[in-house]
């Protein structure tokens, strides 16, 4: 299976901010948070398109997310995921004596994960931007 190394950046967005106000238990919040944005060349390299499922692996764990076409240009080798409960499962808790975990600049591996669609993990990937 094709896989690439990338730098994970978490961040805030309109969708994420509005999603919180729709309610954190709502389906809307789940749908608009549960995705990642990749560079189109990187997506081609591992053979996925917008809407495909990919697995992100960090040294702390792994997570399956739906890919979405970036609305804000993402350079090659970078993957963006909205800051929230899903991505926090695989970020590093190490704070380097500052109190702050590393929420940006995390090394990950990305590979296709279409086999997880049958498990109902295809939710997500919708944005309000």
């Amino acid at each position: 299976m094709k896989r690439i190394k990338a730098v994970l950046i978490t961040g805030r967005s309109y969708s994420q901010g509005m999603g919180i106000e729709f309610g954190k238990l709502s389906q809307q919040y789940r749908r608009i948070m549960n995705y990642c944005e990749m560079n189109e060349e990187d997506m081609k390299e591992i053979g996925v398109t917008a809407g495909s499922l990919v697995k992100l692996k960090s040294r702390r764990g792994e997570l399956v997310l739906k890919t979405a076409r970036p609305l804000q240009e993402v350079p090659r080798g970078v993957v963006f995921v909205p800051y929230g409960p899903w991505i926090n499962k695989i970020i590093d808790e190490e704070t380097h004596s500052t109190g702050m975990p590393s929420l940006k600049g995390i090394e990950v591996e990305i590979e296709p994960a279409e086999e997880h669609r049958a498990e109902g993990r295809e939710e997500g990937g919708e944005r309000l931007e």
Binding site: T95, T98, K104
Partner: protein, 432 residues
Amino acid sequence: MSEVRDVVCPFCGCLCDDLVILVEEGKIAGVKNGCALSITKYLNYNRERISKPMVRKNGELEETSLEEAVNRAAELLANADYPVSYGWSNTSCEAIATGIELMEEVGGVIDNTSVVCHGPSVLGVHEVGHPTCTLGEIKNRADLIIYWASNPLQSHPRHLSRYTVMARGKFRKSRDERTLIVVDVRKTYTARVADYFIQIQPGKDYELLSALRTAVRGEELEQEEVAGVKREHIEEVADLLISCEFGVLFWGVGLTMTGGKYRNIDLAISLVRDLNAYTKFVMMPMRGHYNVVGANAVFTWQTGYPYAVDFSHGYPRYNPGETSVTDILVRGEADAALIVASDPASNFPRKAVEHLSRIPVVLIDPRWTSTTDIAEVVIPTAMLGIEVEGTAYRMDGVPIHMKKVINPPDGLKPDVEILRMILDRIRAMRGG
């Protein structure tokens, strides 16, 4: 339908104070002047509200009286050896002050959300201080604005139009009188409206700040390219910085959450200090939660420290990395938690959440979140800036009175009253 004017928005650190809220039959029917985030907040604030206090019995949350919930919260916190408290950036300064008194009483740790946003900025500022000013001065005077690792068109949507490039100031009246520089890994929406966009490689902020300092000081850059940015571009931007009349560097959590953390801020401060040899230059962190600056301010008045304050020795101690709630939870040391107006079960790393779910959690929050699922005691509250009034601090440190717009649902009290009830109960239990 009635209008409530000059309402202050309780979403981000901009604290926009010009909203008009339309009220019909005691409910919010519309919002004028708000951004998409603000409008969404006002029109959905009542979704997923918790209506009654709850206590966990046999593994399930059951509705109970406020008195029983307060008693249970007081017992859990008073009987713990090393309780921690976290949140505090989405509530009033009055509630924060009471919370600090409470955690001092029980000899615990109190921390606020800066620990996972601009905590490293605070640490950087500790080193040498930083030149800053109010947003009003920037609106009226700044002719060069930098957003470094910040995307305000998504996170603080009215920042540009109220305070910077698109604001009509006293001395800078139009967009063409100001230069906008954006430094980011991604070509963000804010980058698209910039005059100069510097696309930096991820995690290379320290390198680019160093290169800019070199160029600003008139020294020659040896490398052709630094952090993915060509030498000519760096020198061109350095010339712009030197030649402006009033510059401002706004920085986002892109500088604090990546490698280097507070050292990035230290270097950004050094760059601004260097620039002040040539011109007027100030800087300001783009604070997220609407009262996170208030949390830092009230913590500092009362304890001497802005966050991560440990009272377990009987006096305030501050050593982020040791006394920060994130680290304490990861190390598995806390044996009870008081969470106020926050959702750490969503926002903390997995290992911290795992420990939080093993200890009794007292949650004071208006809405259901992932943290409700792991709480032992849940006490719902009225919302500041919508249902109750209080004080919050804008990102530039200006305190602003948050208005009440409508009445809260029956039985819901402000955070400050609930915290006072818990504190009084703990003191009564201890014979005080």
